[in-house]
């Protein structure tokens, strides 16, 4: 991936640039439509490509891991093939959804134990596991696993949380560098 800043505003900090990947180009600033479950709700992929000309859409690790599950996405040859979308996909790590959707979550240094908001089944996300899921999804941009603290929260909680997320980031980077593209 290459990022080039092509122009800057005279006042303020606005800048315009270009993200280049093997899949194509994304001019910035960019707004990315959200397609949590492999669909931007209510629209089809022709509309996204031909009508809206969106260069990148989102998917969500937590949601896609629960449904349809990484097995089915891998069988299809990745999320791009599963949903018939040849432009960029960015996946969020699921850190926020584990916080906002799961009825129960237990955070340790190793990772987060949580219950599915669908059927209450128990799952464990680690930084390494979340990188692997995003590899199975085959996203072009993957996000590191983070702890999402509530708001408001005590200063100490937020500070500890930030350091935990930084340690998890190091583990994500290491896992990413050890692995390979699946597709």
């Amino acid at each position: 991936m290459k990022f080039t800043i092509t122009s800057k505003a005279d006042s303020g900090k606005a800048r315009s640039g270009l993200i280049q990947t093997s899949r194509g180009e994304i001019p910035t600033p960019v707004f990315m439509p959200v397609g949590t479950l492999g669909t931007v709700k209510g629209l089809n992929q022709h509309m996204l490509r031909d009508l809206l000309d969106a260069p990148v859409i989102l998917g969500n690790t937590y949601h896609l891991y629960l449904r349809p599950g990484t097995g089915i996405i891998e069988e299809a040859g990745g999320l791009h093939k599963f949903i018939n979308w040849d432009r960029h996909i960015l996946t969020d790590s699921g850190g926020y959804q584990v916080y906002s959707l799961s009825g129960m979550r237990k955070i340790t240094e190793e990772g987060v134990k949580f219950r599915s908001h669908i059927d209450g089944s128990s799952h464990f996300f680690t930084p390494e596991g979340v990188v692997d899921i995003q590899r199975s999804i085959g996203a072009d941009f993957i996000m590191a696993f983070d702890e999402c603290p509530p708001y408001p929260a005590e200063r100490k909680y937020v500070n500890d949380s930030m350091h935990l997320t930084h340690r998890w980031l190091d583990r994500c980077v290491e896992q990413f560098q050890k692995g390979k593209h699946h597709y």
Binding site: F3, T6, G12, P29, L43
Partner: protein, 143 residues
């Protein structure tokens, strides 16, 4: 927070502000050096009948649009918004038809994508700060 953060982030890497936001949030954050955004707002609000247009925000379910036979947004990049009237789309929402939320979602996403496309143009042309000020007042309009 955004302003403080972008002062500390490396200039040469893209900055992604996750889950943001309203059209005004986008412009204010671009002004503070953010490059990437995502948000469920354009699609979620569309499903509830809240439509972002070039003239301001419309709640298409309101009775006031029942007899308005003008296009949803005559300046829209989405052909559906230019070809279908406010009265028709209000009727679709009123009767619970699938097409209403779909047209509204297309309108809102095309509007958000248009907004960042214009922002890019204005940054290149050296007109971003003035344009942003103008746009913010339009974007806050409730029609």
């Amino acid at each position: 927070m955004t302003d403080i953060s972008t002062d500390h982030l490396p200039l040469e890497k893209p900055r992604y502000l996750m889950g943001v936001g309203t059209p005004v949030n986008l412009l204010e954050s671009i002004d503070r050096g953010v490059d990437m955004f995502d948000c469920v707002l354009p699609t979620r609000n569309a499903r509830h009948g809240m439509v972002y247009t070039s003239e301001g925000i419309i709640n298409i379910k309101n009775a006031k649009w029942a007899n308005d036979h003008n296009p949803l947004d005559s300046n829209s990049p989405s052909p559906f918004s230019r070809e279908h009237s406010r009265a028709y789309i209000r009727h679709l929402f009123h009767t619970g038809e699938f097409l209403g939320p779909q047209i509204a979602s297309l309108q809102n996403l095309s509007f958000f994508l248009w907004l960042v496309r214009e922002a890019r143009k204005k940054i290149k042309a050296g007109e971003f700060p003035d344009w942003k000020k103008e746009m913010v007042s339009v974007l806050n309009n409730r029609l």
